[in-house]
């Protein structure tokens, strides 16, 4: 089974390729990447062809931070619907967070996720195991068992590991397995009952704020611990300008720290919470213009390693309520590309870098053999037209949930095809 992708601009940061290339796919693998028109002869006659004229052809995007809610909260999302959402957003690989019910803190849950993925998923699913049993922050999970079952990192995401001693031991113990610890950085003592960024808007709305220092202090704590313990820290969804600076300093010292940013944290501010729009309620909360500027600086100078969506689908019943009672988070996968391309429009980063942040870099950090168009690799490919303009309509999302603050946004950058192991899992 072969396919030829023709006439596209291939951007493959892992192999430092950017130019007009054709790609031949054979039995789910990349067979050849050759300059346009160079693939000739009987070998490619009568093959199914995907014409990628005016399009970028890149490795399928990799999102290292999604919540697919299965097992336990299937009314919000399942591995099946989440994977359809991923495919529609150009993602061929996702890493699913362990805050399911039951929590992915042991191999039987990991195995269940893999078996469900095998049955229903359109994209590659990599589970992330819990740092602590039940995400309770009390005792370490069996990190070795989780790794052997196939987990690619550890995290209590959604709940920060508050106990500093436990975090220290998590860094130490995880070293044995070579996997990073992903922290949702938030000092809960400072954010109790909080539901949006603490600032002028929370003051006006009379809502309990979550001060930015809650994030900074946690990032500082983890970086401090890391110097002694070893291990690897990956800071999830960085939203604070101060935290970006802490990561920058840590990197300058050569510490094994990486971080990700979610598109909502560089496209929206706390202002979006006016009118008590629960679709603008996230954790960490939407911050200020100054934070966005510092995040963009972090993207420019490489402090921020990757873009991850923190895809957090919620049913209407969890969002159509009083602001302080609503769940945190938004559907992220299907708006990631156009929001990332805004950074290109604003000349924060170029298109190659944008693709890099969504493909090669996440796979480098999490040590996945993905995010590349190298010959012999799995043919996980996204084809998108960066110029196509359209209006975001959450009602049309493939995700089971529709919670998005981007309804009605006019954006550009549309996914045309997503391929996983050579098979088309999405086409527009």
């Amino acid at each position: 089974m072969q396919t030829l992708i023709k006439n596209g601009r291939v951007i493959d940061p892992a192999n430092q390729i950017d130019g007009s290339f054709d790609i031949l796919i054979s039995d789910g693998k990349i067979e050849a990447v050759e300059p346009q028109g160079k693939l000739t002869g009987s070998k490619i006659k009568n093959l199914p062809i995907i014409d990628a004229k005016d399009c970028v052809v890149a490795p399928g995007f990799c999102d290292m931070h999604v919540h697919f809610r299965e097992p336990g909260h299937e009314y919000k999302e399942t591995i099946e619907t989440g994977s359809a959402s991923a495919a529609a957003g150009g993602f061929s690989t996702v890493a699913v967070m362990p805050n399911t019910s039951p929590v992915n803190d042991n191999c039987s849950v990991t195995e269940l996720i893999f078996s469900q993925a095998k049955k229903t998923s359109l994209v590659n699913i990599f589970p992330i195991g819990a740092i602590s049993k039940g995400l309770k922050g009390e005792t370490l999970s069996d990190m070795g068992e989780l790794k052997e079952a196939g987990c690619i990192a550890y995290s209590d995401d959604g709940r920060p590991v508050m106990d500093s001693e436990l975090m220290r031991r998590a860094f130490e113990y995880s070293r044995m397995f070579g996997l990073p610890c992903i922290q949702h950085s938030e000092i809960l003592d400072l954010t109790r009952d909080g539901c949006m960024n603490e600032g002028i808007v929370s003051t006006e709305l009379g809502l309990k704020g979550m001060p930015v220092e809650a994030e900074d202090i946690m990032v500082f704590r983890d970086i401090s611990l890391l110097q002694k313990t070893g291990g690897r820290l990956h800071v999830a969804h960085i939203s604070s300008g101060g935290a970006v600076d802490l990561v920058r300093q840590a990197k300058a010292k050569g510490l094994p720290v990486t971080c990700e940013v979610a598109p909502h944290h560089f496209t929206l501010t706390e202002e979006a919470c006016r009118k008590y729009d629960t679709n603008s309620k996230m954790s960490p909360p939407l911050r200020t213009h100054e934070d966005i500027e510092l995040i963009k600086e972090g993207l420019r100078d490489g402090t921020i390693d990757i873009i991850a969506t923190d895809h957090a689908p919620h049913d209407l019943a969890d969002k159509q309520v009083e602001f302080s009672k609503a769940c945190f988070g938004i559907v992220g996968l299907e708006t990631a590309l156009p929001l990332t391309l805004k950074l290109v429009d604003e000349e924060v980063i170029n298109l190659q870098k944008a693709v890099d942040l969504l493909t090669h870099q996440p796979c480098r950090i999490f040590n996945l053999d993905k995010g590349t168009l190298g010959v012999g690799k799995d043919a996980d490919i996204v084809i998108f037209n960066p110029k196509t303009k359209y209006t975001i309509e959450p009602a049309k999302f493939k995700s089971r949930s529709k919670n998005s603050p981007y309804k009605g946004w006019k954006v550009r950058g549309k996914i045309c095809y997503t391929l996983v192991a050579g098979k088309t899992v999405y086409s527009s």
Binding site: I200, K275, Q320, V321
Partner: protein
């Protein structure tokens, strides 16, 4: 002239003209409450539902009396008797009530923004009777009416609001209302009870009561809640009182014609001394009387203006 808004969700949505009109209408309706037979037929056949998710005596009663004096049918539903304790959500409750065709929904809720949420799903006008720490518009309006009664005007006056500004919907509504009417607002309280960034709203912040009230026309004292001590925002009520209780001694440095108001209920001796509360400068009971007039005016302007005469 109709108000510029269909709902009274907050002072934020009201223009200066709206506020003026509400105050003027309330003025003209006050007289009804002094009659022997305190009832006019203005809102006969109209149904008003008071939907209160938080305990309230004064505000709920005030809305109830206001409706009844205008001959509306007023129904009270409290949080504990409503279906919300059975797990029904706010929107379902409101939609069910709306299916019974009320003409106005008066809502008190402990979550900021709850009335705005309701307004998206309910067709009839909504009056916010206090939501979380957000707004309490009818309270601010009655405060303005009380001040105007005694000063004759509002523009240019200076007011000090004393107490727990962070958690006060009364403070937020009053800051907006007073600024809209051209008044100057200063807030006074310990730093943990002053919310972030208030200065950028054009509000002066002070932590010294006697200094802060020296030159003001009005001092508004807010109720302080013991609960704040558990949250670590207060050391003790005793120490709070030492610095922020309005006493004759602190007042000695203020102007002779200073007006004292308090939205109630009062913690006697904690935020305000007993003798101050009962002094002729205290307008606490005038506020309560004016509350009925303001709420009558709101009902009238939202419902009755087109088909009835206020008298």
């Amino acid at each position: 002239m109709p108000l510029s808004t269909k709902n009274i969700l907050g002072i934020k949505e009201l223009t200066k003209q709206d506020i003026q009109q509400i105050l003027d209408t309330a003025d003209s309706l006050k007289e009804i409450s002094t009659r022997d037979i305190k009832k006019v037929p203005t809102l006969r056949g109209k149904t008003i539902i008071n939907l209160f998710f938080e305990p309230s005596t004064r505000t709920r009663t005030s809305f109830e009396i206001a409706g009844k004096r205008m001959s509306a049918d007023v129904i009270n539903i409290s949080g504990s008797t409503s279906s919300t304790v059975k797990g029904e959500n706010l929107i379902d409750t409101a939609r069910n009530l709306e299916a019974m065709s009320p003409d106005i929904l008066v809502v008190r809720h402990n979550c900021s923004g709850a009335p705005e949420l309701l307004a998206q799903y309910v067709g009839c006008p909504i009056i916010n009777a206090g939501d979380g720490s957000h707004e309490h518009p009818s309270q601010a309006l009655l405060d303005l009416l009380t001040i105007r009664d005694h000063k004759g005007y509002l523009e240019g006056l200076t007011v000090a609001i004393v107490g727990d500004i962070s958690h006060s919907r009364v403070a937020r509504s009053n800051i907006r209302a007073m600024q809209t009417m051209g008044m100057k607002v200063r807030v006074v309280g310990p730093p943990p009870l002053i919310p972030f960034g208030l200065e950028s709203l054009g509000v002066e912040v002070s932590h010294n009561l006697s200094e802060a009230i020296k030159d003001v026309d009005v001092v508004m004292v807010l109720r302080i809640q013991l609960e704040r001590q558990k949250q670590g925002l207060l050391s003790s009520l005793r120490e709070y009182s030492n610095y922020f209780c309005l006493t004759s001694e602190t007042l000695a440095q203020a102007r002779d014609d200073i007006l004292i108001i308090h939205p109630g209920p009062v913690n006697r001796g904690v935020e305000i001394a007993l003798d101050v509360m009962e002094s002729p400068r205290s307008l606490i009971l005038n506020q309560v009387t004016n509350g009925v007039a303001i709420r009558m005016a709101l009902f009238y302007l939202l419902l009755g203006e087109n088909n009835a005469n206020p008298n």
